[in-house]
């Protein structure tokens, strides 16, 4: 044990020093109080000190007081040595901060006992300090662990809310009937899923050479709204493009140079690419960017499947309402629409026109030139009719060479005029069939109007049919208007 002895009187100092050395302590002896304080307040001091009460410089009590003001000094064991042996002196010693005191001339047995008490106490204090330090470290570790846990909790919460949103979006997409509805739903949910990251949903245009934005979100959404397939690595390679690819210098041409991080997720379903989900990643933290990117990939997967399903639905819908040869609506769709439009006209007090038309001598045409030529003629008329009417009018192939057009809100006169225009346009129609140009054809048309020629679908169609029959019998290539029923 290292022990400091501070005693000005040389005989006593020497005696203390030799006595303690005999007990195999490592003794450092000084002759005045100032020096003693210097050592005890210095770096790595002896933990136990025997200080004389009366010394030049500082006395023992003053050293005690000075040391006890500091944290390090408080851990030292201070034993005061005094020739005054009264009770008051003892109290003064302890008041000054001494741990114990011993009277001079000392009894070696007493000194030994008091020193060993001191050594035990120093040992306990050091152990306590070590434990406190350990405790402080453990507390700090615990605090760190707690902070990490809180962070994980927050992340978990975030993931959870993302999963809920994804689920909600999936549900809404399921109930969309058209692509346009799905795009609107995507835009609404993307705002909530990526509140900080702007982006856009792109789908292929008619040509399949370009994609165009159908939904955009964020305060500063992507600038490029239409671009070629070649401008995007994700579309070219058919795989997610982001993170490391961009850091390696592979930037898509459709992304402005200012955006350091982004992700392009190609939307594929059943092997076909439908479009692209593009998100600009604005988070400064790379882990957050990665989290956003993987969320983007999941959203892309969802959207791909939903859009593929819608496309299929739309194709089926088209098949079920269209006549495959002419591309016009089929009879069933026309009848349903007429029923609906009649109720609407009734409700709003509006008129509604229908016209029935028939290609004159189509049978003869078919017999002489063949069914293929007949089909070409029907197809050409299918192209012509929609160009002669408004987009809200419904042109349909009623059967064979007979067509029916519903004109919501049209008066008798307007319907008749429209019929006249169609007749004239058909006269000017030249149909190319293989190498030859087919002979011009004429049309007969019958016009009927709600409410004067009938209030129900059947009545109205019967009136129009009668008018058409009259046009035929009056010599064809003409328009006849129904007489009141």
């Amino acid at each position: 044990m290292r022990i400091l002895v501070a005693e000005d009187e040389p005989v006593s100092r020497r005696l203390l020093e030799s006595t303690l050395r005999r007990w195999e302590h490592n003794v450092e002896a000084v002759a005045d109080g100032t020096k003693a304080l210097e050592i005890l307040a210095g770096v790595d001091p002896p933990k136990l000190a025997i200080l004389d009460w009366m010394m030049p410089g500082l006395n023992g009590a003053e050293i005690c007081r000075a040391l006890r003001k500091t944290d390090r000094g408080r851990s030292l064991y201070l034993l005061l040595l005094s020739s005054k042996a009264s009770k008051e002196d003892a109290i003064e010693c302890l008041d000054a901060g001494a741990d114990d005191f011993i009277s001079k001339p000392f009894d070696p047995a007493e000194l030994r006992a008091r020193v060993s008490v001191g050594i035990r106490l120093v040992g306990l204090r050091m152990e306590l300090e070590a434990r406190m330090k350990e405790l402080a470290e453990r507390t700090a570790q615990l605090q760190q662990a707690n902070e990490r846990l809180t962070l994980w909790g927050k992340e978990l919460e975030q993931r959870n809310s993302e999963i809920n949103l994804l689920g909600e979006m999936g549900g809404l997409l399921q109930s969309c009937n058209t692509s346009a509805e799905a795009y609107a739903a995507t835009q609404a949910f993307a705002r909530r899923l990526f509140p900080e990251d702007p982006g856009a949903l792109f789908v292929f245009g008619e040509s399949r050479q370009t994609v165009e934005a159908v939904a955009v979100w964020g305060e500063t959404p992507p600038e490029e709204r239409v671009f070629a397939l070649d401008d995007c690595w994700a579309l070219r390679r058919g795989r997610v493009h982001g993170g490391a690819d961009i850091e390696a210098g592979l930037r898509c041409r459709h992304v402005a140079a200012g955006h350091a991080a982004y992700v392009c997720v190609p939307m594929t379903a059943h092997g076909a690419t439908l479009g692209l989900l593009h998100i600009l990643l604005t988070a400064s933290d790379s882990e957050q960017r990665e989290a956003r990117q993987s969320l983007g990939v999941r959203v892309g997967e969802h959207l791909g499947l939903a859009l593929a399903k819608l496309k299929m639905q739309e194709a089926l819908q088209h098949l079920s309402v269209r006549d495959p040869l002419t591309g016009l609506f089929n009879r069933r769709y026309m009848e349903e629409s007429l029923e609906r439009e009649l109720r609407r006209a009734e409700r709003l007090g509006k008129s509604l026109g229908i016209l029935m038309l028939d290609i004159d001598h189509f049978k003869r045409f078919n017999d002489t030139l063949g069914h293929d030529a007949g089909d070409s003629l029907l197809r050409e008329l299918g192209n012509l009719l929609p160009r002669q009417i408004r987009s809200s009018d419904i042109a349909s192939r009623y059967g064979g060479e007979e067509f029916c057009i519903v004109l919501p809100e049209a008066s008798a006169e307007t319907t008749r005029q429209r019929a006249e225009e169609i007749r004239e346009a058909a006269n000017g129609m030249r149909v190319q069939h293989g190498q030859q140009v087919l002979d011009a054809v004429t049309l007969s048309l019958g016009v009927a109007t709600f409410p004067q020629n009938g209030r129900t679908r059947d009545a109205l169609m019967k009136s129009a049919d009668l008018a058409l029959y009259r046009a035929k019998s009056e010599g064809r290539n003409r328009v006849c208007v129904a007489e009141s029923p």
């Binding site: 009187e9 005989v11 006593s12 020497r14 005696l15 020739s83």
Partner: protein
């Protein structure tokens, strides 16, 4: 003796005492003649401490008397005590010197 029979250490301590005691006594005398009570108390205290190690009860008592009077602030009144201390010290010094010479021989 408190030195557990260590004659060598005893000889060393006596040597130190013989070397330092005259100086301490000189400080006692000087403080006394200057009537410097605090100085006298400190010097007498130191001398008493040194003496106490040799079990020199009478000399210690004499030194304590000087210290005690000085503490009460009466340096002049201690002159007889100082003289008594000198006598005790002279006698002890002779004894210790004899022991010292004997031991060294």
């Amino acid at each position: 003796m408190r030195l557990e029979g260590d004659r060598e250490l005893l000889a060393e301590l006596i040597g130190i005492f013989l070397d330092t005691a005259p100086d301490l006594l000189a400080r006692v005398r000087e403080a006394c003649s200057r009537e410097d009570a605090p100085g006298l108390e400190r010097a007498a205290h130191a001398l008493k401490g040194a003496l106490s190690n040799f079990g020199a009860t009478e000399a210690v008592a004499a030194a304590f008397a000087v210290e005690d009077s000085a503490r009460q602030g009466n340096a002049a009144a201690t002159r007889p005590d100082v003289e008594a201390l000198e006598e005790h010290l002279a006698r002890l010094t002779l004894e210790l010197r004899a022991f010292h010479l004997d031991h060294q021989a």
